[in-house]
Symmetry: C2
């Protein structure tokens, strides 16, 4: 439920699904759907700039506190990828919470990227892997947030429904209950949530609607040698 | 939702309600109901023993990992206080999660002790204080747990229902939803919870039933000079 709690759940053998619904991991999923070849998640703006120095063809995406970082090609809006031909491109991305969470998880674990946009695909793929799963909610600056927990509940429910998974974790059980409560009206469910309010102040309600629409892609970004590449589970 | 996250929410001015439903704060509430004069919460077994050296009349209570500590008068079972005359006694108590949470909260905040046993009383008292409230779930070794979150939801709901409180916190909103879902059958709701299973292994199902029965006392333990004393909100 928070990057600050990840070490308590880490076991060095599970696949870790990192989720930052609003908006980092949604953006990652849609960027692969739009054809990028790879994405390099980095923790700092400085690192991102160093990558560009090493290769001017890299596309830079950076978000801090919900807003794009000046001088970068993209911020953290998934819809900014929709109208462009991204085939074969490499994106270097840093965000407030999402890429930090990847950086924590990758130290000892295999990492996959989840969002509502690839919910069914990542469920199907995880079930085929026959390994334990930790769902890592990026939250907001180490605080619990509702939208990532909703995704965690949705994914956990699909895994448990497969009969191949058990769930003895209170946090996951809570997430499943929240998903059951919210699944029929995700936007309404998040009406009073802190992050929806934060983003609404930035005039990006349409991004929120976009990120809450499940199953827009069958791509599953997975981390290989510090770089995200996509598996297609169609 | 975890002692590890408390600093993110700390504001140095709210009243902090520490809750450890199974069983530390339930035991504190019932001990005051049974007439103790004060309780000294300490972080370590060694500290508790030092208090007894300073005063042989002190009653020592210690729990680690769900079980009483050898050589102490009490563990962490609220029902162990029921049959005894505790009038005017002082109890020195240390538990795995509850007293640790008090120790974290008291550094910068006024502290009150909540449990389902004093739910209505603490709600009424808090509303009369006209101050912001942080509900501090003791959890289990920094992990989220369901039963403390249920209490948080119950208390938050009563505060919000008073129309004197707003709630813009995702964690609190989640807690309220969990309470709404579980309130009519708390024992059943916790059927698969980690802590209920942990305690069931120690054969203390009856303690769990006891701790889940709301409003058994109107006492509210509050911390004054590192010692808990009771306010009566009848």
């Amino acid at each position: 439920m928070s990057p600050a709690l990840f070490d308590l759940y880490a076991d060095r053998k599970s696949i870790v699904v990192v989720v930052d619904v609003l908006r980092a991991t949604s953006t990652m999923c849609i960027a692969f759907e739009k054809g990028i070849e790879k994405m390099i998640p980095v923790s700092t703006v400085e690192e991102a700039l160093e990558y560009r120095e090493s290769n001017p063809n890299y596309i830079l995406a950076a978000e801090r506190n919900g807003a794009p970082v000046k001088g970068f090609d993209f911020g953290n809006s998934p819809q900014s990828y929709l109208e462009l031909d991204m085939s074969g491109k490499t994106v270097v991305m840093t965000t407030t919470n999402g890429t930090k969470s990847i950086s924590i998880a990758k130290k000892d674990h295999d990492v996959a990227i989840g969002s509502l946009l690839n919910l069914d695909a990542i469920s199907k793929w995880l079930i085929s892997q026959e390994r334990d799963v930790i769902i890592f909610c990026a939250g907001w600056k180490d605080k619990f947030n509702l939208e990532d927990t909703l995704f965690a509940g949705a994914l956990a429910q699909q895994l448990v429904d497969s009969d191949l998974y058990n769930n003895f974790c209170d946090a996951t059980q809570a997430a499943q209950i929240l998903w059951e409560k919210g699944k029929n009206d995700l936007f309404g469910f998040l009406d009073n949530s802190s992050h929806r309010k934060r983003l609404a102040n930035l005039n990006i309600d349409s991004d929120i609607h976009f990120c809450l629409k499940p199953n827009q892609t069958t791509k599953i970004p997975v981390l290989k040698n510090n770089t995200l590449v996509a598996i297609d589970e169609s």
